[in-house]
Amino acid sequence: MLQMLLGSFTAAVVSTAAAAHPLHTTITQLEYTSESRTLRVSMRVFVDDLATAVRRQSGATVGPNHALSDAAMFAYASATLSLTDRAGQRLPMRWCGRRQTGDLVWLCLDGSALRGVIGARVDARMLFELYPDQVNIVQVTDGSHRQSLLFTRGDSAKEIR
């Protein structure tokens, strides 16, 4: 009986952990410029994960090497990253391009925040639908003020202080 239990445990552990342990993380930089009252968001994500998420979200066709259209990426980014100001109004964002280096892609979004970002709320839900251990880091910069926000599955929006 004990041998059977040990054997089952060993087989289960071997099969579940045979693959290496990846770190499922995205990093988003959110930079506010008080002079122009504008926001620039740079979201960095692994391109294969993004392709899987976009395909699942919209059924969009993914080309060779995980090639995606800008529209599909923008739709996914704006659906999973939201910013609301102190009055609870969602800040509209525009697409400002992308840059790919190896297996990473940076998505650029920008917008305006007339009341600044302090007191605004951020919600970052990228790739939560794919990985239960997904962690999204949002680094906020407002002049010399820096703040990091960490999001895991089940978290709600967090305030920039």
């Binding site: 060993t10 342990h21 962690v135």
Partner: protein, 201 residues
């Protein structure tokens, strides 16, 4: 939350996550031979492991060192297998070479391999600064290891007591020896399976 806290949280989650079984199992293999009274020896070994993985993590993240992922992922279970076998082979550590004090050295060397494993997934996470996030991540890993080792130590004490209870009816080996062999053989078999799965050829 500061950048340091963010990365410390990330490091803690990475090591304390059950998905990181290979690193947890290595800690189990390291701890398998120690009793509570040996905590100083255990601390030396774990500290050496931490120094080792911190070195390669720093080298890999700063791109001084580039290592093939497939080779590193294969070597990680090999470090567990070697540690498990060493646990079982060396019966009397006082009579072992250097009175068994080589253990921190190989824990440090194996730490180099595990650090490269962390780095392969971490390298892409540093955007505009390295030192502070790296320090935070290492501190988080360290705290995660302490948490894992606390749980492992409590489990091993419980196992010792269970074996002692059974031992009243007569055992060929001492309860401690039985614990070392039982835990080490289980860990070795599991890690050997991973090594086969991850073999780079």
């Amino acid at each position: 939350m500061s950048t340091f806290q963010t990365y410390a949280t990330l490091g803690f989650r990475h090591i304390a996550d059950l998905g990181a079984l290979d690193h947890i199992l290595f800690l189990v293999a390291l701890a398998a031979i120690y009793r509570l009274r040996d905590w100083r020896d255990a601390l030396w070994v774990v500290t050496a492991f931490t120094v080792g993985h911190s070195v390669t993590l720093a080298l890999a993240v700063t791109r001084v060192l580039e290592l093939p992922t497939t080779l590193i992922e294969f070597l990680i279970p090999i470090t567990i297998v070697v540690t498990g076998i060493e646990n079982m082979i060396v019966r009397d550590r006082r009579r072992a070479p250097w009175r068994g004090r080589y253990r921190p050295v190989f824990a440090g060397a194996f730490g180099l391999v595990h650090g490269a494993g962390f780095a392969n997934y971490l390298r892409s996470m540093f955007v505009d600064q390295i030192a502070l996030p790296l320090l935070g991540f290492n501190v988080g890993i360290e705290l995660g290891q302490i948490a894992v080792l606390t749980v492992v130590s409590i489990t091993l004490v419980g196992l010792d007591r269970a074996i002692e209870r059974v031992g009243r009816t007569g055992l060929v080996w001492s309860p401690h020896r039985l614990r070392v062999v039982a835990v080490s053989s289980l860990v070795t078999v599991v890690a050997f399976g991973w090594a086969i799965e991850r073999k780079p050829w």
